[in-house]
Subunit: 482 residues, 2 copies
């Protein structure tokens, strides 16, 4: 993002006025459109509000913008062209479509992180740079690369990657499949998107866990689905609840994240898995198994996927490199019956014509390299270390103020706050104090929870991050008492 | 795709039976699901139908599959599990969703190309391998690469790529913009998809050219849009038609491919551009300018984009590397007002969390390299050469049987056939004779046209491809006379 140059001789307000004039003349802010507020711009550009006030005054004096009290500052319609012209009402268009915007809390967090990169980040659900196999991938990239094809590829995904995944799924996840039944997607996210868009119709009822990562995704509501809750306790979701929902609402699909669930860290109990599969096959009900975390199991063997014991072909199994290697690779996959893979591969042609061959080639090389096992070992050890650092910090900084179950895998810790505080206020106060987290309400119906992702901050940030969080919590609870 | 091993001692039919049994046991063909027909399988596996008949007999004798006359061969429900279990009705699910499947002709072509890779390909709208800068990209990849970040990236796209595009758009396309107004997408395709999904609502009326690439995309119908035609003649679409459509149907957006239009190769006339922009701004109507071909202009300077003379911010400008570098990179971009870029970046988070950093890094390196200009020169020269080869072959093989306007840029040649033949029959006959093309009806309402992509086949295939096509045409017209 552009920032004014503090070394330059040109005054800041002039630089900003020039920059805005340029963007207006390029059509980025068309005639009649609303500019960001003075306060917002000042925050984005890292200057005093008074500087922006001066820049706006400058642009106003040139007739480029107009301000009216209460309705903000707009680009003038008359300056640009001899006769008054109409510009499309872009903000109306931006409200169109069936796509709901992202969760306000998620947008707020993203914005805070963009504007203040120094915030300690317990919010982004991913690995920190040093936990990703960046060196390994760089080494692979620096081996002589040859590209044999750069045309439109098979819409199911790059064949050598699908072949490598057949071995990977067999060796690491106990899943037997062939390359014809694998669809490569842009992370698990695109697998979920394809399922909700192409296999379900608006009005269909589906069951999702509560709390669940899925609630953070307006994707489900955008697709017009009716969502029903499967409460998650220490042993995961209760399969009997599925039968009840089926009877009541004719649910058409179940979304489940059985291993180190996001956000709770829960592992679905072995008996419940069998029961779940029995109910699914009894009802002819498809289950989407979203399984990105299993290989992070800190000490035990990773839990087996439902897919590995699915004898009726009821499971759509989704995996990803995001949580065990790097989210910026954007490589995920789905293992599904042939009809479904064909249908989704066909539909995705209309959306993006498939993924770039290059990261798929890198991912295939990584899978075939000797780096996978050592990387996973290192990852597990480091995650465990960070989890313990987080627990230590919570015990020190927030004694008696948080409850949690200690997760045995995954990137997150799900904490119930003992003091009652307002989700949004706590987030704002935390941002002020230099730390972000995800308010639990993003993941479903219960409030008073917080998700801390301990995989994302630097090791040395964990304890100071918690202390900043504690400060924020204290500020709020103190204020309330006053 | 799996094929039986002809070197193996195990008989072909047994290998096929084993392979099918494995896939059935993996759940790829769940109990009760339909297997491909014997004829289809034989074609896919490159064996005689009688071999597949034998494999099916083998599987039937083991109780794994069941055939019933008239309803095909299904996986047995009773073999797998002690009690009969239900498998989700996957084919019903595959029919769900608002996503229409791809055009039957397009599916047919893709299938033919997968099964018979030796077909001469006048159908795929892309560059052949030797026209893509694969060597240049390989060289760049083989320079020491460093990856500094592999996390979830800015949803607008990798910043260095957006920065490189600012210079590229200025130098090559005369477009002034800043990185804040660029959205990186998976080719132009995803830009179109985001626009139809997020800025328009079901029931909205839009105008598209006729013929147009857009008609080949069920994307528009999937979004529930009502499509209205802007007939394209030698000078492109007539802007006055837009006013008429607006009055009649309140169209909300216009999609246009003004430079070397796909499929006709037409360039929108200069006067009509000004008129178009005037009408757009008069009506406050947004125009989507899909501009992938301009830099292929064989001899003249590439036509300027509408965006470069858009003073009211009415244009959403879409570009891509697919037609000037390599479609497998999957890198495209949109230049749009700020509000729109923000909205689409937010929505695409729900679909795929953005593109992989790696191809974006490669694309940025390519743009900053000294390779762009020489590559484009070579590309233009080669396209011109191929275009002339195609014309020569058409004149020789089909004298008086085709009419066309000679394109001055782009990858395609749009030909009207003088003899009246059935689109689908001609395609089948062509496939039999070893060549594929796209039937003109895929692009809109007029029939009796054919699109030949001369950029895709090898140079030495062009004349033999046309002669195979001529043979197919002759077979059909002769048959008819009998
Ligand atoms: C349970 C779960 N599923 C899917 C995703 C999407 O991740 P990706 O698309 O990067 O694989 C996430 C990311 O947070 C997740 O936690
Ligand atoms: C006019 C036009 N627009 C868009 C596309 C989509 O191409 P891509 O997504 O590869 O940029 C094509 C491809 O054929 C095209 O011809």
């Amino acid at each position: 993002m552009w920032k004014p140059d503090r070394q330059s001789k040109q005054p800041l307000y002039e630089q900003i006025a020039d920059h805005l004039e340029r963007r207006i003349s390029y059509g980025e802010f068309p005639p009649g459109s609303l500019l960001p507020s003075e306060r917002k711009l000042a925050e984005q550009l890292g200057v005093n509000r008074s500087t922006v006030v001066q820049s706006f005054a400058e642009l106003r004096s040139m007739g480029i913008i107009e301000s009216r009290t209460g309705s903000g500052t707009r680009v003038s319609k008359y300056k640009w062209g001899i006769t008054p012209k109409h510009t499309p009402n872009w903000s109306r268009y931006a409200e169109g479509g069936s796509f709901l915007p992202n969760q306000p809390f998620m947008r707020r967090i993203r914005k805070a992180l963009t504007e203040h990169p120094s915030l300690i980040d317990f919010a982004s659900g991913e690995l920190s740079k040093d936990l990703s196999p960046i060196d390994e991938i760089t080494t692979l990239l620096n081996e002589p690369q040859s590209i044999s094809y750069l045309g439109y590829d098979n819409p199911q995904g790059y064949t050598p990657l699908r072949q490598a995944l057949v071995s990977y799924l067999r060796d690491y996840r106990g899943i037997q499949t062939t390359e014809s039944s694998i669809l490569i997607t842009s992370g698990s996210q695109q697998s979920l998107y394809l399922i909700t868009q192409c296999l379900l119709s608006p009005g269909d009822a589906v069951a999702i866990e509560d709390p669940s990562y899925c609630y953070s995704l307006p994707m489900f509501q955008s697709a017009g689905l009716r969502l029903f809750r499967l409460p998650v306790d220490q042993d995961g979701a209760r399969p009997e609840d599925i039968r009840t929902l089926y009877k009541k609402h004719r649910i058409k699909m179940v979304f489940i994240n059985p291993n180190f669930q996001n956000p709770t860290g829960t592992v679905l109990k072995a008996e419940q898995r069998i029961q779940l599969l029995n109910i699914a096959s009894e009802l002819g009900l498809p289950i989407v198994e979203d399984d990105p975390f299993s290989l992070t199991a800190y000490k035990e063997t990773p839990p087996s996927p439902l897919k590995s014991i699915d004898s009726t072909g009821s499971i759509l199994h989704i995996g990803s490199f995001s949580k065990i290697a790097a989210s910026g690779l954007r490589i995920g996959w789905m293992v599904a019956p042939h009809t479904i893979v064909e249908r989704l591969a066909d539909a995705r042609q209309q959306m993006d014509f498939g993924l770039s061959v290059i990261p798929q080639q890198v991912a295939a090389q990584f899978l075939k390299s000797p780096y996978v096992e050592p990387h996973l070992d290192r990852l597990r050890m480091n995650l465990l270390f960070r989890r313990d650092l987080l627990i230590e910090a919570l015990e020190k900084e927030l004694p008696g103020l948080v409850c949690y179950t200690i997760p045995q895998g995954g990137l997150h810790m799900w904490c119930k706050l003992v003091p009652k505080v307002h989700d949004g206020k706590l987030l704002e106060e935390a941002i002020k104090n230099g730390v972000v987290f995800v308010p639990g309400s993003v993941y479903g119906s219960d409030s008073g929870f917080v998700r801390f992702t301990f995989a994302r901050p630097q090791v040395e940030e964990i304890s100071s991050g918690v202390s900043k969080f504690a400060k924020a919590l204290q500020n709020l609870t103190n204020n309330r008492r006053e």
